[in-house]
């Protein structure tokens, strides 16, 4: 069932430079060439009856309801499969057409409940609506014949039901699964009257390959596939457009409500990041927002060993402010700091950093990007001048070669992965560089041309060898380099990259990838013509994370793969607003728009706006805060929407640091690991309870709109304002729109952003200013933001984490589709149906050597600690490499990872830990505070 307020044009939009003019029911209409008649008619205001056609799917022509008459042509062609042509004269209504349509509908209704009252989709049921539209008043055929009305429903999926008695075999679900999602989990099984839609090999939904994206549910024109929440709560009566609070794809959704209760989330077909598609998390896993675990009242306690005491907002805020002031008075202005949240809005992150800089009087503010994409910030800013992805998501539709390195889009960024898979099915070539055979390496209708299964920690060597090949074989884009890049830097880099140490043969010894494979991939990338790089935390969360980002920038510049659609260097951001929280000044050395605090002219602008004098020195990063806490110079922390005790490295160290602080204020929707060390708990609001904006991985600023009232009475931005007021620094706004106006006044790249514009355009991509009033889909066109692109030599430096007799295996980590990060949200939803535990993937050879059988409990030991989980034996990982996810705290997956970090940004090296794995009789235990799971946060 499509969104309640969507209009269905019957066939997809066609983009063409040519247009055609035709007449439909006497009305002249001009449409792009290739537009189906049914769409042309809809654009002219004429709704042709239809069932198998919908504008999200390519025409299929099976239902025979959308028949029309075309002057000069015989018969009754289907308007969904017939393209409009110049001069056509089309009739959509005639006596003959009416009779044909009624006959078709009549046959459908012989095998379907006649009474609309029985239909769970009610007024939204397209079948009953079409029956009414074509004037079907009775069914002449007897009801007692053979039919499908006794088939059993499949209720196995936690979120939707499949009732085959209501299925009309229009194949919209099958086509949605194939064409939109790209999973190919559904099929029409059998022939003729025996035909049935079925998941997998006649399995139930839950046991099939279905990934529960919900595309089939949305495509279904009847009540055969229905959300369980609709069955429980009834049809919605209104919809509010908002933005998903999960990953960095930032899908646009319509929250459909009945009264003030959410009925369902439907992906917005006008949403530019997702074009009406979604994943299992965004569409279905929103129940955590009203989970009983939500904290609804502020709480305080003097010591962390005391029980929490519920208090009023006034008491909590006044206690927090008094303690922060006391600590500053006793230990100095720099003794406190704050952490902004990448799960909160831009406006909220902006206010937290403003609070720290203006009210705390220092720059001790940081954000969770520290532990995920901070190397992206450093690397891309150094090379190109701005720390953000170069393209919009739709750019991939023009890519000829796609290189995915250190990312697993089908699990981590599933909606973008669907777009990617569609492009690959259309013929784009694929290079995957990953220690593990991710799904993209081989799946239905997609196979990587090159799968470079490198040893964890060797990205830089691989990227350098690819660049070496491109330079050595004369595949560089010399015109691009001459016109766009620094000549001296290029000459120096060219000399460096041609050194023998960067050859594919040298890289083979380091990476384990055959030299000929590296050469082949490099040639494919260089020859494009359009080649695009997409990368994730498998690049950044390394000791050489920033170097690897610089190496990708070198590669793209050398091959001229920047500054136009279809190319680029694109980080796949983990959290919904990790891009935005960085944009609005969450790093300790930068004000909004990535401008360094040391710039006196810049500070003067902020000082005039904020009415205070600002500190010109960079503040402490999150790990520095912990170090300073342990040396006694950092005593207070305000943490908004971030569970540092769970997500940051070296959890014993974090726990000790938090324990050493005298005032820890946690603002979150649930009590979490960090709140175990907190003295004040301020209840936060979920993305459904507030107004604001999120910025996704393509720099797209999208509106977040309040769908329900905040359970604890305040939106997060309001809590920060109230804390500032209590500290004696009033920050008064009546609506987040005013906060965005302030950001726009202070930030050249946001100068043209306003809520009015977001309401009008739906979303905009920064830079959005006078030069680009509707935003910038592709960056660095004609010139880099920094002027000329900067090549830098990127020598490979091995990680200090080395295998040996004691720890012979390398552990690396990743995500799974149904869970999100440490599972705080998704473990409080129906998504617990899938992935009930984290497992250790181990190669058959390594398992056999250790006597480990599939499903056995094993102990994973590193120099940092030991954890216990069950083994899955698979050749997805190479010999010598083991892999696990980190969604369940009981597993404690990251207890074993180490303190190593990126040289430039201190981003932890989560992706490389040397370990030993042995069978064990131990079982996992919930570890005491401070010895709990920590994980890559995004």
């Amino acid at each position: 069932m499509q969104a309640i307020d969507d209009r269905d044009f019957g066939a997809p939009r066609r983009d063409s430079a040519q247009s055609v003019t035709l007449t439909i029911d006497g009305m002249e209409i001009t449409v792009p060439a290739g537009t189906a008649l049914i769409r042309a008619a809809a654009l002219a205001g004429v709704a042709i009856p239809k069932l198998c056609a919908t504008d999200s799917l390519e025409p299929f022509g099976s239902c025979r309801l959308c028949l029309v008459e075309i002057e000069g042509r015989k018969g009754f062609p289907a308007s969904c499969t017939t393209p409009a042509e110049s001069g056509m004269k089309v009739r959509t209504q005639s006596e003959a057409l009416g009779k044909l349509r009624r006959n078709v509908m009549e046959l459908y209704m012989t095998d379907h409940p006649l009474d609309p009252f029985e239909c769970k989709a009610g007024a939204a049921c397209e079948l009953h609506r079409m029956a009414a539209e074509v004037g079907l008043r009775e069914v002449r055929y007897p009801r007692g014949g053979e039919n499908h009305l006794n088939l059993k429903s499949d209720n196995s999926n936690p979120y939707f039901t499949f009732d085959p008695t209501r299925c009309i075999l229009c194949s919209r679900c099958v086509r949605a699964c194939d064409d939109i999602q790209g999973t190919f989990a559904l099929t029409i099984e059998g022939r003729g009257f025996a035909s049935q839609m079925t998941p997998g090999q006649h399995e139930r939904y839950l046991e099939s390959e279905c990934v529960s994206c919900g595309a089939c549910v949305q495509a279904c024109p009847t009540d055969a596939l229905m959300e369980k929440t609709v069955l429980e709560r009834g049809l919605a009566d209104r919809a509010i457009v908002t933005t998903c609070g999960y990953c960095g794809v930032g899908c646009s959704f319509k929250a459909e409500l009945r009264g003030d209760r959410i009925v369902r989330m439907v992906p917005n077909k006008n949403g530019l990041p997702n074009h009406g598609h979604s994943c299992v998390k965004g569409r279905f896993a929103w129940g955590y927002a009203t989970h009983p675990d939500r904290v609804r009242s502020p709480m305080i306690r003097k010591r962390i060993s005391d029980p929490w005491r519920e208090v009023s907002w006034e008491e909590a805020l006044s206690y927090a402010a008094a303690e922060l002031k006391r600590v500053q008075k006793q230990y100095g202005r720099g003794a406190i700091g704050g952490i902004t949240s990448s799960r909160c809005t831009n406006e909220e992150a902006y206010l937290v950093q403003k609070l720290v800089r203006a009210a705390f009087g220092n720059n001790n503010v940081d954000t969770c990007a520290r532990v995920c994409h901070s190397p992206t910030g450093y690397g891309l800013k150094t090379a190109f001048g701005t720390p953000a992805g170069t393209q919009d998501f739709d750019s991939i539709n023009q890519a000829d070669v796609i290189m995915v390195i250190g990312a697993n889009p089908t699990e981590g960024h599933p909606v973008f992965a669907s777009l990617m898979k569609r492009r690959l099915r259309a013929g784009a070539r694929l290079i995957v560089a990953d220690p593990r055979a991710i799904e993209l390496v081989r799946m239905p209708h997609v196979a990587a041309d090159y799968f470079l299964q490198l040893t964890p920690g060797t990205n830089v060597a691989l990227l350098n060898a690819m660049a070496h090949t491109i330079v050595a074989e004369g595949l560089t884009d010399d015109a691009f380099i001459a016109a766009r890049c620094e000549a001296e830097g290029y000459a120096r880099w060219r000399q460096f990259i041609l050194e023998e140490r960067n050859s594919p043969e040298a890289a083979e010894a380091i990476t384990g990838v055959r030299a000929d494979q590296i050469r082949g991939a490099a040639r494919l990338y260089a020859k494009g013509p359009n080649s695009a790089i997409y990368y994730g935390l498998g690049v950044t969360e390394h000791a050489q994370g920033s170097t690897a980002v610089l190496a990708m920038a070198n590669l793209a510049m050398a091959a001229g793969m920047l500054g136009r659609p279809g190319v680029g260097v694109n980080p796949l951001r983990g959290q919904n607003n990790v891009q935005g929280s960085n944009d609005v000044g969450s790093f300790p050395h930068e004000l909004t728009g990535y401008r360094h605090v040391s710039d006196p002219a810049l500070r003067a602008q902020f000082e005039a706006e904020w009415g205070v004098t600002l500190d010109p020195e960079p503040g402490l990063r999150i790990p520095n805060m912990f170090d300073a806490a342990l040396d006694g110079s950092f005593k207070g922390l305000y943490v908004e929407g971030e569970d540092i005790a769970q997500s940051d490295p070296n959890s014993q160290h974090v726990a000790a640091a938090l324990t050493a602080m005298e005032i820890v204020i946690v603002q979150d929707i649930f009590l979490n690991e960090t709140s175990k060390y907190a003295h004040v708990f301020l209840p936060g609001s979920s993305f459904l309870e507030k107004n604001g904006t999120f910025t996704n991985a393509e720099r797209r600023i999208s509106p977040v709109r309040k769908v329900m009232q905040p359970l604890a009475g305040k939106e997060d931005w309001g809590v920060t304002c109230a804390l500032a007021e209590a500290l004696g620094y009033p920050m008064r706004y009546s609506h987040p729109a005013e906060i965005m106006d302030e950001i726009a006044r202070l930030t050249p790249t946001f100068a043209g952003v306003s809520y009015e514009k977001l309401d009008r355009l739906g979303s905009v991509q920064w830079p959005c200013n006078e030069a680009a009033p509707t935003g910038t889909p592709v960056m660095h066109v004609g010139e880099f933001v920094r002027g000329r692109g900067r090549f830098l030599p990127t020598a490979y430096v091995p990680t200090p984490e080395k295998t040996g007799p004691r720890f012979p295996l390398i552990l690396t980590t990743g995500r799974i589709l149904t869970q999100y990060n440490v599972g705080t949200q998704t473990r409080r939803t129906g998504n617990v149906t899938w992935h009930p535990e984290d497992r250790l993937e181990i190669h058959p050879h390594d398992a056999e050597q250790r006597g480990v059988r599939d499903g056995d409990w094993v102990e994973v030991t590193s120099r940092a600690g030991a954890i216990v989980l069950r083994a899955t034996i698979t050749d997805r990982v190479a010999p010598g490499v083991v892999y696990t996810t980190f969604h369940h705290p009981e597993t404690g997956a990251n207890v074993v990872t180490t303190e190593n970090s990126d040289w430039a940004t201190n981003c932890p090296e989560y992706k490389v830990t040397v370990v030993q794995v042995m069978p064990t009789s131990r079982r996992p235990e919930r570890l005491p505070a401070g010895r709990v799971i920590h994980a890559a946060a995004t």
């Binding site: 170097t547 050395h589 020195e617 170090d627 342990l630 110079s633 430096v797 040289w903 430039a904």
Partner: protein
């Protein structure tokens, strides 16, 4: 703050710039990186450590750190 940890972080910064530039440029780049990204108390610690010998610092990092000790007007 833990000087061993600070020295280790500084050396990793030095390792990158040393391989990416000539000596003088690398010294300047290391110093600039520390100035841009390290909070003053961290810089004070590493400067004091370098001034006291800084055994765990690589020569180029020690050289770069010591340039930070010189007042800006004398640089």
């Amino acid at each position: 703050m833990d000087r061993h940890h600070l020295a280790s972080m500084a050396n990793e910064i030095g390792e990158f710039f040393e391989s990416a530039s000539d000596h003088d440029e690398a010294v300047a780049a290391i110093a600039q990186h520390l100035k841009s990204f390290w909070e003053p108390r961290m810089r004070r610690e590493i400067i004091a450590y370098a001034a006291a010998g800084g055994d765990e610092l690589t020569p180029i990092v020690r050289e770069a750190v010591l340039t930070l000790a010189v007042p800006a007007e004398n640089r």
